[in-house]
Symmetry: C2
Subunit: 468 residues, 2 copies
Amino acid sequence: MKNKLVTLLAAAIGLTAIGLASPSIKARQTVQTEVLDIIKQDVSSSTLSYDIVESLTTEVGARMVGTPGADAATDWAMAKMKALGFDKVWVEESQAQLWQRGDLTASITAPYPHKVVAIALGGSVGTNGQAINAEVAYFDDLTALQAAPEGSLKGKIAYVGYRMERHIDGHGYGKAVGARVAGASAAAKKGALAFIMRSVGTDTDRIGHTGMMRYEEGIAKIPAVALSNPDADLLENMLRREQPVTFSLNTSASGPTGDTVTIANVIGEVTGAETPDELITLGAHIDSWDVGTGAIDDGIGIGIVLAAGHYIATMEQRPARTIRVILFAAEEIGLVGVRDYVAQHKADMSQHMLGAEWDFGNGRIYELEPGVGPQALASVRDFANYLAPMGVGLASTNTAKGQSDMSLLGEAGQPAFNFAPDGLDYFDYHHTENDTLDKVDQDALKVNTTIYTLFAWYAANSGVDYRQ
Amino acid sequence: MKNKLVTLLAAAIGLTAIGLASPSIKARQTVQTEVLDIIKQDVSSSTLSYDIVESLTTEVGARMVGTPGADAATDWAMAKMKALGFDKVWVEESQAQLWQRGDLTASITAPYPHKVVAIALGGSVGTNGQAINAEVAYFDDLTALQAAPEGSLKGKIAYVGYRMERHIDGHGYGKAVGARVAGASAAAKKGALAFIMRSVGTDTDRIGHTGMMRYEEGIAKIPAVALSNPDADLLENMLRREQPVTFSLNTSASGPTGDTVTIANVIGEVTGAETPDELITLGAHIDSWDVGTGAIDDGIGIGIVLAAGHYIATMEQRPARTIRVILFAAEEIGLVGVRDYVAQHKADMSQHMLGAEWDFGNGRIYELEPGVGPQALASVRDFANYLAPMGVGLASTNTAKGQSDMSLLGEAGQPAFNFAPDGLDYFDYHHTENDTLDKVDQDALKVNTTIYTLFAWYAANSGVDYRQ
């Protein structure tokens, strides 16, 4: 109620704007600071985005494609969007490959026996009902594995020990994830029976990190698993003793079998009052891995974009353009939902004026990078100036294509804002059992929700063509 | 080699002492600062205690009573003591109750289904091959559970949500552990089918904390398990919705069956040159829980006391009294090994002049509390003054009875020094899968090993009767 009253008051006193409108924009004031101030005040004191994450993680929890949680998440999201006052809510269904984790046991069997904590990588095959027990061959990284002589891994289990680095922008992930994606086929080419690796994660917990892997066509499919970081340390300490180390792996991971399962992008809109066909998109992904409750990845994103949509839906003043919130399905297994979205929306992609996704966890936003046309930059700078007191810098580059799912909309021509948060702890929890509600930084979440709400309102009302 | 040379040099230049000898001590200088300085310099630059923990956790790992690791640990410890130059090494065997963890699955089944991470408490019975599925009744703490009306928990699962507090001296543990020990029988008295609790731990990891529980005589034995902290949060968030919450538990924990298993205290001595019958005891415990590799609890203790013994064993100058290192068996399941030790050593308990144990993990020692006779205090103050530049304060009290196992020697009359380390993070890892080598703070370990070596030398050569 306060929200509406304050907004009405702002309307009554008249709106003024700071900054220079770009030459192509005539009557529109691109940054309506009075409205932004009210949004900032209201949203920064609201716990709504956290409450949404609490609801999702408690009432649904894990929601991997092909599990009951995925369907429950679809229902939850539709009901939540309706309850939050979105004008239109719908799903767009398609198909994804089914993969099932099954059970897994792993151990070092010699020279010193230890049970170890390991987790199957997404897409991995199993061990056909019996354990693989073989000597471990060590490699520093994927490149070293790829350089192994032909046939040298025959009868062995290949192990890559590369340890992910911790960086604020998460760039250590890119250096580590190659082994996860391509390690199994690289090992199989040299004759290996299985592929094991140090988890792609920055933590020291006895919890493995899952995540998608891929088999190359025409190469034998061998099981692929990640060890927890402490177990990787243990294995390496044992290898350092220069005796043969043997490892036993038994997993009933099922896929890929070719079976498919229905997935659903869940979409909600707050309809624009002036140019409803022009879309400002806010993205997050609705699926998670099966092991945690998906609070960080990507419950926080869902909390942010639903809370932003709700706030604007309940303002007296309507946005000029339509705010479209898209909860993409099947992100974790390879951006499947967004591929379907792009395919289904080819005809109206030009109406996607500007988009931003949230799929990077917990930290406070410290930078905005745009990916817009040159004429739009003046307005972007005005908006960035507005955000600056909140600790958000403007990147010197203008190459953003959209984050996570939204990158495919970027490839399809949608301009984007990339908001970069402090990602120092993101890969402590990413794709693990430890991705749970208690990891959410509630203060940072309030700030980030405020910034996304400001973004949505600004973009919906700037009048700027971000392609120009 | 350096060690011996430097010690010889010190002997050559003559030893002087600071401080006042107590009136009962005549010729002996109680604090030989020149020797202590050499010990301090040598030990503080040595990685030996860490290397010992690495060896134990890699070559043995988990070593719960009744598992192959326990026997492997006995063999490892005897071999290690011999290799480290102890003069005598032996075991003293006895019997302990056998308990086996078995497997466990747990889930919230309604209103929103979730798999949860839980762990059987040590000594818990199982669920007889089928799951218990029942409504959860919430209690703030053990006292609230004990106050539940008679029969009110019939057909239910009792849950205690008390959250352990984090304190430097670990006193939050005492406030939390009562529910772990006595919760199952308290719940069974009111008719409960099973007892579940929030883990006794200060972390937010999706890993449960085990630890010993006890059944009261004449009360039905019901299964007792601990939830990881994030799963306890989840359960409580669900209970807050004021709908019935049901929980399913299936565990094949076996005990107690009455079967016993052989345990062994492993003892090593560096024989005193002047009064070999007078013993300075250094304690740690050799068993661990089965889930981690027991690096923190109590690998660090083993590393410290073996390294201290080794250093003194390799000094040219011999200690006046005998240094006895005791690695107690079966501490985790109720101080079983030390009970046997005390029973077997009644006759020579008066020869136990002074003892100290290490069983509190990782942090730097910040305080020394003695538990000695009044005439010995002057010498204790001199030694404490020597330690002060290392950040070790002297407690204002003189009531130490020995820590962990050593408390039973204290009850039997042995004077003690209690060294208090920073325990802020100890209960993040205590009794969990996360108790692994990477958690060891190598810098703090060097300091603490130095202090224990200084202690052993000081006590062996002070000439002080710590009972007086």
